[in-house]
Each structure stands twice: as C-alpha cells, then as structure tokens.
Symmetry: C2
Subunit: 184 residues, 2 copies
C-alpha cells in the first residue's frame, strides 16, 4: 500500500490454459488485498491482461509484470522473502515477526505463491516458509489470509485512484457509480 | 468446528470442466478454514471426490454433499444465510454482528459462494450480503478471509481426527508423519 514498504507477489510457475484462472485469481487477490505489484511467469500473458484490465476499470495503483527469471527474482530480492506453503511454519506464529521486519526495518516483502511443483531451492531462499494451515487447500486462499493478517485489515480501507467505476456497499442488490462517485 | 453452531458453505453454480478447480478449491478452503460441510451443485461430482479424498487422507470431520436444489437449500436453511459478493456490505463492518448471531443465538450459518451468475433472489434471501472488499477478485479468497474473520483465527488451531498423515510445520523443507504423529 502507498507510503509503506512494498509488498509484491510472485506467482511461481504457470501452465498456460490449465492455470490461467488460478494465476489470474492470484493477481486479482494480490491487488484487492493490498499488495502493490504482482509478478507472473512470462507465459502468463493472458492473466496479465485480465488483471491490467481490472486495474484500468477499478483503479490502482497496481502493477503487473512478467518475468522469465523467477529464481533470480527471488535471489535478487532486496528485502524479505515469504514463501507460502502447507509445509511451512504456522501463519499465526510468524506473521507478527514478518510484520515487524517490514514496519520496523522498512523491508519490502516478496510473497512467493506456488503453482506447479516448487523446487527445494525456493524453500532455502525464503526468509520464512509460512503455512496458512498445514492442510492442502488453495494458494489463492492462503495468499488472501496472509495479506489480510500482514496488513492487519488496513488493506480493506484502502482508497483506489483513477477508477472508472466504483461499487458502493449495499445490504441488498448492486450499486455501481462512476469513479468520482457521481452518477449510477 | 466441533461444539459450535454449524458453518456450511454452499457453492452456487458450477460449470463442469471449466469450474472444476475453483469449485474444488472452494471445498478445500471450507474444510481447511473451519467450516463443517460444503454443499456443491449436483454436477460437481468430481470436485466432491477430490475433497473427500483429501479428508480421508488429512482428517476431518468434514462432509461433502451434492444437491440439485440450490435455491431450496438457501430458502429452507434454519439459521443465518451469508452471501459473499463484491456488491455487499463491508466485511469489516458486519462480521461482528454475524459472529454474535452465531455465538449468542447459536444460529448455524450457511455461507453462499457464487460461481456463475447469481440470481437476484439469492441477494434477497440472504440475511447478509457481504463484500470482502468491493473489488473483483476471487470467490476462494473472499471465502478464506471471511472464515478466518468469522472464527477469529481459532480455526487455525483446530485438531484433525482420523488423519492418515499429518504435516509438521517446518522453517525449511517438508515433514509429513503418520496421522498419530509417529514415524516419518
């Protein structure tokens, strides 16, 4: 989020076709829940287009990048690397420490979200391997809970810039207005 | 979770093939994050098999059901109905009230997670329409954050019964033991 050390999300691995929807959901979840940027493998151009389109319509700032260098992105990251995995330490035990490193030391965080099989080098390169439960479920769910806990819910209050449209919370039904809040 | 009013998750709509993975992730997320049961549309048999297989291996209790009667399940629910939608009230504003209804009055909760287009009747039938942000992202992410907030993190401490295997949290690498905690 703005005026805070960066949080970027790296989607590790992508199989075009089969993973398009999951990779897109990783990107949209990163955007909606307070990350500044998502980095996809370079074969995930279709997911990039979808996330950029949503950002154009619903606002930002939020960046989407492709890289051919997943491992180098992790190795070269100047800050902390958090790898989300069901084999990792419990999110409720380590998030406080991660949050302190970010806020206290101003360290940017790279959150690595596995797709296809993640090699052992990623576990080694990570400063924290973190499990949102030690149960098999969904990388999208794990990312969502981790970001909500990392930001302590502040991400839900974030303002969006340059939005074409904005959804106004409603007890019943749907209400969408122009980005500047005028008109339905 | 055990000794608490039931929380069930209803996946509203499923397109076989196209939605298999998302529907499976809804089910696995429901299980991992403290729900007691997931109800899928009756054309989602493949997702049911996958979730049941994970429950057999990693433990329960957790039930998976199919229904041809999505609307009747909502209308006939004896308890509160929460519909997760980006058009709804803000999760940070209403979860306290939902939690109180469940814990104070002992009301079971049905959490409705949209798949394909959700008809207006579902918005009408819900006691709460809740947005985990008013941004487009992922029904799996929305479900995860909602459950984590509904249970206030207690779901992360839940014990699993009748598990064949159990993952032990590790700072590096993977450690899986038998369900009773003996052996690697």
């Amino acid at each position: 989020m703005q005026d805070e050390p960066e949080v970027a999300v790296l989607r590790y691995g992508h199989r075009p076709g089969r993973d398009d929807r999951m990779t897109t959901h990783v990107g949209l979840t990163a955007r909606a829940l307070g990350a500044d940027r998502v980095i996809f493998p370079d074969n995930a151009g279709q997911s990039r287009e979808t996330v950029e389109d949503i950002t154009d319509r619903f606002g930002g700032p939020f960046d989407v990048e492709l890289t051919a260098e997943l491992d180098a992105t992790i190795r070269g990251w100047e800050g902390s690397v958090v790898h989300l995995t069901m084999y990792g330490e419990r999110v409720q035990d380590v998030t406080g420490e991660i949050r302190e490193t970010r806020r206290g030391d101003g360290e940017p965080i790279l959150v690595v979200v596995g797709g296809e099989k993640v090699p052992f080098e990623v576990y080694e390169a990570a400063d924290w391997n973190v499990g949102v439960t030690n149960q098999p479920h969904s990388e999208v769910a794990g990312l969502a809970v981790f970001l909500d806990r990392l930001f302590g819910g502040r991400e839900l209050e974030r303002e969006w810039e340059d939005a074409d449209r904005r959804v106004l919370p409603q007890a019943r039904g749907k209400r969408v207005v122009d980005g500047d809040g005028t008109g339905d």
